[in-house]
């Protein structure tokens, strides 16, 4: 006689713990993203070898005209003229070496933080607080030289190439906005190491640039000391915060620069050039 019985378990579902498969998937995805990252970095660097500095400055000429139209709406003042001439003065040292007659495009942006940024195409943006709050021209020159170091070493162009390639590839493999929001910052944390490497490269360039301009490197550490005082936050001794920062720790940067100057027998002391824009009232 027929006796009903239940079918055995585990036919349509797995008894395996879901974490086991998940961990395998995470490791596989990590390796996959790491491989992509290495390819993007290599391709980004290759792209900058194919494009000369003159070409990079030239390609953005049209965009530059547009930007200048926007900038002309803003009334230029003393600090704009000062920074324009300082950047031109520094850049003139390198024009022959990099076979270009084109200029960098400089703009000042209102901000309470002393800072500067270099975008692809030779767009240098300097915050007005950097100009107004520096006692010496040497301090501002170091920051401009640092940004110029990024430009000469093609960091903004590399980054642009890498972001473009990674965005296109992740879209092609079907990663949606959500996945990209997670993958992007996670990869970002682990690529900070490369960012810090670029910062060191730009720092060393800036020191040499300062030496070429003034015949000594005094003032190389003024900006670091100023931001340390103004931010009231030193991440120098915290290795965990250091890991999450795109810039090396402040004290470490100063020490590396000092050692580099000593190694090259560059004068650590010399005559400082006062900043004509500086006023005590400008300090926050």
């Amino acid at each position: 006689m027929y006796k009903p019985k239940l079918p055995p378990e585990g036919i349509n579902s797995s008894e395996e713990h879901p974490l086991k498969e998940f961990m395998l998937l995470v490791v596989a995805s990590g390796l996959f993203i790491f491989a992509l990252l290495i390819i993007f970095i290599a391709l980004g660097k290759l792209a900058s070898h194919w494009v000369s500095i003159d070409q990079e400055l030239g390609w953005t000429h049209e965009l530059g005209i547009l930007k200048e139209k926007v900038l002309t709406q803003k009334k230029k003042d003393l600090k704009d003229d000062f920074i324009d001439s300082l950047v031109a003065d520094i850049w003139d040292q390198y024009k022959d070496q990099y076979e270009t007659t084109r200029d960098l495009k400089v703009s000042t942006i209102p901000s309470k933080q002393p800072n500067a940024f270099m975008a692809p195409g030779g767009y240098l943006s300097v915050t007005d607080q950097l100009i107004k709050g520096a006692k010496t021209q040497n301090e501002i020159s170091f920051v401009i030289c640092h940004e110029l170091g990024h430009f000469i070493h093609r960091h903004p162009l590399n980054r642009l190439g890498q972001r473009f390639l990674s965005g296109v590839t992740l879209s092609l493999i079907g990663m949606n906005d959500f996945a990209m929001n997670i993958v992007g910052p996670t990869v970002g944390i682990f690529t900070l190491h490369f960012d810090r490497g670029e910062e060191r490269q730009a720092d060393l360039f800036a020191l040499e640039c300062l030496m070429n301009k003034y015949g000594h490197v005094q003032g190389y550490d003024y900006f670091f000391k100023r931001i340390k005082e103004e931010s009231k936050l030193d991440i120098g001794d915290n290795q965990y915060l250091d890991f999450l920062s795109s810039h090396p720790a402040t004290d470490e940067r100063i020490e590396v620069l000092k050692q580099w100057a000593l190694k090259n027998n560059w004068n650590l002391e010399g005559e400082l050039t006062p900043n004509p824009i500086y006023k005590k009232d400008n300090l926050p």
Partner: protein, 153 residues
């Protein structure tokens, strides 16, 4: 950074609570399946087997099941490489068995002795139906003919 912390928190919640609910549901399913094992179900129409002293009634059961955060993320990762989506298999297995059990419980109340012509329908519901939703959500509906013996009819 905050986005990453939120993501991993949701992932851990999905794993812990999702697994707890799944295990609890499976225990309930197994217990109810044993209780209702005496009611046979077939997928055939069995028209020729139906005798004049049997009454046919419509019986059905439906359930809506949603994936948890962990299952969805794990399955999204798996879809990059391909292979069995084990997390969704368990979800749909629970859904199908729950729908059958609900149908059997309804049939039991109506005095049905056996169920014939069993059919399944599935459809995505909620935001998942429009392809915009992140968490998949599916309705599983099963329906059949229940046969009730009425010797005096």
């Amino acid at each position: 950074m905050a986005q990453i912390i939120i993501f991993f928190t949701l992932l851990a919640c999905g794993l812990v609570f999702g697994r707890h609910i799944e295990q609890k549901h499976y225990r309930s399913i197994k217990w109810r399946e044993k209780r209702l094992i005496g009611m046979p179900i077939v997928t055939g129409r069995w028209q020729e087997e139906i005798t004049p002293d049997q009454e046919g009634v419509f019986v059905h059961g439906s359930v809506v099941v949603a994936s948890d955060y962990f299952k969805t993320v794990a399955s999204s990762l798996k879809s990059v490489f391909g292979g069995r989506l084990q997390n969704y298999e368990a979800l749909l297995d629970r859904g199908r068995r729950e729908a059958i059990l609900r149908m059997k419980e309804q049939a039991n109340k109506q005095g049905v002795q056996k169920i014939i012509n069993l059919r399944f329908e599935t459809s995505t519901v909620g935001r998942a139906a429009s392809g915009k939703g992140f968490l998949p959500c599916v309705e599983i509906h099963c329906y059949a003919t229940g046969l009730i013996d009425r010797p005096n009819v």
